[in-house]
């Protein structure tokens, strides 16, 4: 979760990292009550980079200019995001600008200090001069001094810059952050340091023990972030091209990724891929609710417009397979029963379908369902891959509905593809 600049600076101020006097602007008219002297800088508060180049940062000399500039910035989307807040800040004359960051390196499993003697908006220069120190053991200020020296700093700057790094690290640990970045850290002609821009990414897993951060975000009026935070248990696999007619439903992200790969390898086109909790124990329902998850996933996927076939791939214990089969059967049957257009004749057809398996698949089952669903929504066919479990009686119950049971993944994928292709014709 990314904090906005003014929120990051609030945390900088608390921990003792020098920041300029500033004021939060919620509306252009707030500038009439500006407490900091002109000239000031107005900055769009959006959680994306590239504000300066996009025109989200303006220098103003007086109230009239400031209000006009503020109006313009409030109406300027940056990578599709409009600011809810601007930050008005004093101007600062920097002699030098540095880049500093403390970031968690997931590959190393250690925090890393980064620093560049060429800070600011010239990205190539920043990256070219980037230096790195891995905080292998418990942090101690020498790690910060090591970075300062690698950055080529001399004299008093070693102490002042490493002092900032220490505070950044302190903040990083105290608030469970993924990233603390200052760019640029300005150095004045007298050697004073000042954080002109800041960026903080909090770790979502740790938000639960940092209510102060959670409150910050909920008041930042950033819809997208809020959505991410209250993520429902049902996750969706994301990929780029979702213009297909196959729905996938798996327990576990990686199993879903494999299933998606297999569909693509067989030249199928998936449209949606939903995941129910892979670690949930199906026969221990007090702990989690895989049944509810599966029910809502079924609903979501059958309501999706273009999906013609749904591949369910759920791997768990035999008991779970039984449970999955039951849940799907109940869901599908409830859909069929609720459909008002189902006539008595159709009902009879369905019943005969149960007793004559060969007849059932080609005509009555599919036919019935298609006819009734035509007036509601096009109902997708189901390929269900579960392994083990006593599911024969469930299969019987669903005999009149176009459901294909498979226990082999490759075969289930092949069946899914053939249904998807025939739907296209």
């Amino acid at each position: 979760m990314d904090l906005l600049e003014y929120q990051a600076k609030e945390l900088f101020r608390e921990i003792g990292i020098p920041v300029l006097p500033s004021q939060q602007i919620d509306h252009p008219r707030d500038l009439k009550r500006l407490k900091i002297p002109y000239p000031v800088v107005l900055k769009s508060q959006v959680p994306t980079g590239g504000r300066g180049k996009a025109g989200g940062i303006r220098f103003v000399e007086n109230t009239i200019d400031a209000i006009a500039a503020a109006r313009a910035i409030f109406n300027l989307p940056i990578l599709g995001r409009y600011p809810q807040v601007l930050l008005a800040e004093s101007r600062y004359d920097a002699e030098k600008e540095f880049f500093l960051a403390v970031i968690l390196d997931y590959a190393l499993g250690r925090p890393v200090l980064l620093g560049s003697s060429q800070g600011g908006i010239h990205v190539e220069a920043v990256i070219e001069h980037m230096q790195r120190v891995v905080v292998e053991q418990e942090f101690s200020p020498f790690y910060a001094r090591r970075l300062a020296l690698k950055m080529g700093l001399h004299g008093n700057l070693i102490e002042s810059v490493s002092g900032i790094l220490q505070k950044m690290y302190q903040l990083f640990v105290q608030k469970d952050l993924d990233l603390v970045e200052i760019n640029p850290l300005a150095i004045s002609s007298t050697g004073e340091v000042m954080a002109l821009d800041g960026k903080i990414t909090a770790n979502d897993n740790a938000l639960g023990r940092h209510s102060e951060l959670a409150t910050l975000v909920s008041t930042s009026a950033d819809g997208n972030n809020n959505q991410q935070r209250v993520k429902s248990q049902l996750t969706e696999l994301n990929w780029t091209d979702t213009e297909g007619n196959i729905g996938i439903l798996c327990n576990g992200t990686c199993l879903a990724a494999t299933t998606l790969d297999l569909i693509y390898q067989a030249k199928g086109k998936p449209a949606s891929c939903l995941i129910v909790d892979g670690y949930a124990s199906w026969d221990l329902q007090s702990v989690s609710s895989p049944v509810q998850q599966l029910q809502s996933a079924l609903q979501q996927i059958t309501e999706a417009k273009d999906i013609k076939v749904v591949l369910v791939n759920i791997l768990s214990s035999a008991a779970a397979s039984q449970e999955v089969a039951e849940v799907i059967a109940n869901y599908l049957l409830s859909k069929v029963e609720k459909t008002p257009v189902l006539s008595a004749a159709d009902q009879a057809e369905r019943l005969t379908g149960v007793t004559s398996p060969s007849h059932r698949e080609q005509s009555s089952g599919i036919g019935t369902l298609h006819r009734q669903s035509a007036s509601v929504t096009e109902f997708p066919q189901f390929v269900i891959r579960v392994v083990g479990g006593e599911i024969d009686s469930t299969k019987e119950r669903l005999a009149a509905i176009p459901v294909h049971w498979m226990d082999n993944l490759d075969k289930a994928v092949a069946k899914t593809i053939s249904i998807a292709k025939s739907a296209v014709k």
Partner: protein, 296 residues
């Protein structure tokens, strides 16, 4: 690794429903589950397993332990693991997921010094088919044999175990490294363990998109592993979460503008292939590749 049916095992957080449920299953599988810990619940018995308030208390009466399985809530995992290390438990399995990464950093620094083996977080644990089950793995997909299975994936692991079992390639061990962004033991560490394990003839690695130590893993296999190794990587069509990976790369990407998602699954496949590790295109292809590799 030192796991036999005699290994003495502890469960921390045993009175939580999930832990209690799996404790019963582990015991039924033959695991020598001798004690549980749950602060404030000491003195009772659960499935015939005595429960203690503290790990050191459990250790005095039932220990020393060879391994512990931790089920406590995510913000308490670091504390539970440090308590286990303090009690000298050499192998720790973290079933709980979603642990704050900086807690993992602290734990891993400590574990490195004490040479404690950490598996997880978000791990379904370790199974030695037919003998021992440590964690929440579904044992019905496994069968005893000589293939070592190391996985960084969740339920996909079962798909691979099932494919091997159906092809009559039983497994010497199934290790789930966990799916959190930062995990304790790596492919590298387990490859080294299985390279000298006399019950293991061939090794299967199951990975997914994300993370990023594949080059190191691949080179290590090429250099140091004499046993046949086969890999499978899921997620060639799913982009990786931009946060996971190398720090400098993340910063560089963020500075240069919006991060474009690129899957690392293809990258992993390429790294394995370059190290001449056969890579399966689908789970069902793994048994064939293992057989072929064993014949060489």
């Amino acid at each position: 690794m030192n796991l036999t049916p005699d290994s003495k095992v502890l469960v921390q957080g045993i009175t939580q429903p999930l832990a209690s449920y799996h404790a019963a299953r582990m015991k039924a599988y033959g695991t020598n589950l001798v004690a549980g810990v749950s602060a404030g619940q000491g003195g009772q018995e659960l499935h015939g397993i005595p429960v203690f308030d503290l790990v050191e208390e459990a250790r005095h009466q039932r220990g020393p332990f060879d391994a512990t399985i931790i089920f406590v809530e995510s913000y308490w995992v670091l504390d539970a693991a440090l308590e286990a290390i303090e009690a000298g438990i050499p192998q720790i399995i973290l079933v709980t997921g979603g642990i704050p990464p900086l807690d993992m950093v602290r734990l891993l620094r400590k574990a490195q010094i004490t040479e404690t083996l950490i598996v997880g977080p978000s791990s379904s644990g370790i199974i030695v088919p037919g003998k021992v089950l440590l964690g929440t793995q579904e044992s019905n997909f496994y069968s005893p044999g000589s293939i070592g299975l190391i996985s960084r994936a969740g339920t996909l692991t079962y798909e691979v175990a099932l494919a091997l079992t159906q092809a009559e390639l039983g497994q010497s061990i199934g290790v789930n490294l966990g799916t959190d962004a930062i995990v304790g033991s790596s492919f590298h560490q387990w490859l080294r363990v299985l390279a000298t394990d006399e019950n293991t003839q061939a090794i299967v690695l199951v990975d997914q998109t994300g993370g990023g130590s594949e080059e190191e893993t691949a080179q290590y296999i090429a250099k140091a592993i004499d046993k046949p190794v086969v890999a499978y990587v899921a997620g060639c069509h799913t982009p990786v979460d931009k946060q996971v990976g190398n720090a400098s790369a993340i910063i560089a990407a963020q500075l240069s503008g919006p991060v474009t998602n690129a899957s690392t699954a293809q990258h992993k496949v390429a790294a394995f292939k370059q190290a001449k590790v056969p890579v399966a295109e689908r789970p069902s292809q793994i048994p064939d590749l293992v057989r072929k590799a064993l014949k060489k």
